[in-house]
Symmetry: C2
Subunit: 470 residues, 2 copies
């Protein structure tokens, strides 16, 4: 027994010393053929036992990262040390991974089909401005007050009532956390759930930034195809049995980028699988209210009795996206951990944003706005679809959401089309970016929510004309 106790104390240290040394080499602080500090000096510096440093050097030598010369000491092997200039290197430390979607969207464009955002002109701006003024009269000190870390209690109470009445979700205010946008929610969830080599199931295709976040935590992504019919549940079960994933990140309602919706009958079954295989379902649900015909099926969260679904509801997207208000619903013990992660991340979402959102959200005006917005989005979608049909391209008409997921004819090279379009100030997102396998090379995502009707018509005609030149 003594041996076990001893080793458990020293072992994490061994790993830490090892990582410390490889980090220094990877950062170029210890460069190729540089003599490394002696075991004695390094043990002193790191305040660990010399044996631990000796073991780390031994392992580094076995791994070819350091070499021994004339018994005079350890030296850095060439190739172990990377320059700090990370653009020159293929090997980039995971914490520096870039966000390619954000980079594409950063480029301004006249015909903006790369942003899955709602045209600000479709929002009730004047009404919102008037409304905000009332909020300031109601809470004159809101600019001087911090929110609690978990989020404003009045907002959480209102939302828990809303979820109960509209989506049949049984939720107490204690089971809700307010975050600054859905992306922060995904980030916090990844932080508390994922470690190196953990498996995450992701839809294929899926929201690319979520993949960036999971990969940064060292997780491995295993794709689950999403089709207009939903998932292949037998395959999902086989993947859960084989990979024991920590979580399945899903966007099952008016899915981004495809617009598909997972049917009701699959929802209950998948929650049962999640319970059986102890795999958390992370249900990202930002497009629920953007439907064109019937409202979509109830969230997965409604079928969950054991706490295996975390629900991300970022409805501020179509109310007032600039506020960046999102609600995460989950059960104990995950909620406690999420609150701690949130407290370290930013100590709570600004109260003013929460109060503005709360009061607009409970106003009768919201339902009117939503009705009008659905019609406007459907008109947008149909303009885009007319031009796609004229070009003979293929897509599945979505029941909601902000995007069309389009298959181009095989002879059109997407990178070339992308380059031509960028020159002509037309923006879209190559489908490859949404694919965990990096394939799907003849697909593109076209968002119809941001451009106005004239820009949609004109931009799509220009885009399809450019494609014909290829």
């Amino acid at each position: 027994m003594k041996k076990i106790a001893e080793v458990q104390q020293t072992h994490p240290l061994f790993r830490q010393v090892y990582e410390f040394m490889t980090n220094r080499m990877e950062r170029g602080e210890w460069s190729a053929h540089e003599k490394l500090p002696s075991i004695r000096l390094l043990a002193e510096e790191l305040k660990v036992h010399r044996l631990t440093v000796f073991k780390a050097y031994k392992q580094l030598k076995e791994d070819g990262k350091v070499y021994v010369k004339d018994k005079s000491g350890y030296y850095v092997s060439p190739g172990s040390s990377l320059s700090l200039d990370f653009e020159e290197n293929a090997v980039v430390p995971s914490y520096l991974l870039s966000n390619p979607l954000s980079e594409i969207q950063r480029v301004p464009a006249k015909y903006q089909f790369s942003q899955a955002l709602i045209d600000p002109n479709l929002l009730p701006n004047l009404y919102l401005s008037d409304y905000v003024k009332k909020v300031f009269d109601l809470y004159p000190k809101v600019m001087g007050t911090y929110s609690t870390v978990q989020g404003d209690e009045e907002l959480r109470e209102t939302l828990s009532r809303h979820f109960r009445e509209h989506h049949r979700l049984q939720l107490s205010p204690e089971e809700l956390l307010i975050t600054s946008g859905a992306q922060q929610a995904i980030n916090l969830i990844a932080k508390i759930l994922l470690g190196p080599m953990d498996t995450v199931l992701v839809e294929r295709p899926t929201y690319s930034v979520a993949m960036d976040i999971f990969r940064r935590e060292g997780a491995r992504l295993v794709p689950v195809d999403i089709t207009p019919e939903g998932y292949d549940l037998e395959k999902v079960e086989a993947l859960m049995a084989k990979h024991k994933p920590r979580m399945f990140y899903m966007n099952p309602t008016h899915h981004n980028p495809t617009g598909y919706t997972v049917p009701a009958r699959q929802r209950k079954l998948l929650v049962e699988l999640a319970e059986r295989y102890r795999c958390l379902l992370v249900e990202d649900d930002p497009f629920r209210d953007m439907y064109f015909g019937e409202p979509p099926p109830t969230p997965f969260f409604a079928y969950d009795t054991e706490g295996w679904v975390i629900y991300i509801s970022s409805f501020s997207k179509y109310v007032a996206p600039g506020l960046r208000i999102c609600a995460v619903a989950c059960r104990f013990p995950f909620m406690e951990r999420l609150i701690t992660a949130k407290s370290l991340a930013d100590n709570g979402t600004p109260l003013i944003n929460q109060k503005i959102f709360l009061h607009y959200y409970t106003s009768p005006r919201l339902q009117q706005h939503l009705g009008k917005l659905r019609i406007a989005l459907q008109v947008h979608k149909e303009i885009m679809e007319e031009e796609l049909a004229a070009a003979g391209w293929k897509w599945t008409a979505p029941q909601g959401g902000l995007n069309l997921w389009v298959k181009l004819p095989d002879q059109i090279p997407v990178p070339e089309l992308f380059r031509l379009c960028t020159e002509q100030s037309i923006a879209f997102v190559p489908g490859e970016i949404f694919d965990p396998l990096g394939e799907l090379k003849s697909w593109i995502r076209l968002s119809y929510s941001f451009a106005n009707e004239g820009q949609l018509r004109e931009g799509m005609q220009r885009l399809t004309a450019l494609a014909r030149t290829l």
Copy 2:
């Protein structure tokens, strides 16, 4: 050469497999005496070579984490597997570390001396509300618009001008990133700079949440004493030479919790040390404008020509803290990495908060407000000091900031006083929390900024009376 290339590919996998397995055990997914999957099965599941899994098992066995029984396979050693109920265990995975300061501050109190926040009544609330209404007239679509990830360009331009004119900092708008509060800034900086076993110099005492953040990244903290005279630069140099720290996290102006200010003559010297030892200085500067006599010395950032200072300026604290607006100044290449980290964290701070801050910040009213606020804070401080003097307690009168750092007589046990005070609705923070060494057991932090004058007088009398009973 072939060997090196091969090993470099396999080695990170070995570590990842090892961590994957220990994580599963630590989380209790593989429990004590449970039979582990065969090498073949696990290699298939993780899609790695069997030899890599074999090596990981071998290492786990050496470390006493697993044992072999009757040649029938590997089993989890007792003690390697932890229950998911983390409150019962001393060993908590680093990503679940709690934030004790936030927990203390969560408890409501009538005499609130634990919050280093400004009493909302001291802020120009009515004026701010009127002002916000103007901002909405100016930017009617602000609620529907996202900010760029780096932050609103108009705000960054204004702030770079402000820094130039007021603090002699040469800064382009491209060298500024807007974050949601200083805590998010510290978090993003830690994420891009720190890895396991990296050393961080921190002041002793220091802002406890920063320590929580650094520890969560696996860093080791090395304390640098801060006194009314600043740092002992010889000691700092010795620590830099010995530990090669990645960064020194400092709050050198009206320091939290002590209120001390590092003198001008030390600032230039320390920047030189930072350059020489390649140790980034992370200068957290939220209390700069809260001075009582002369304005404080120029920031460290002004002395930096080589890019070794990152400057965190969270001045919204005394303008409109609820907005959570903070600016981080740093040079290439750190800025590029910070922007990527910010894009994954929350995709940008809400534009509305930035625009409100911008317009209030540039209004002539701000300087008037600041002048009044300084006087009010000084009055607050003096009330607290009178009661401390009456009790015979010791402190160094600060030149600014929001806190007094108080040494209690040795016979008063702080945990006992804390318990009594909590019962009587008096809140303060035990000094131990701010100490990287967890000592300083007879010190406490008293914030004079949040309670009003009556509460300060009465609360301090009650607090010192309670101490006399001990």
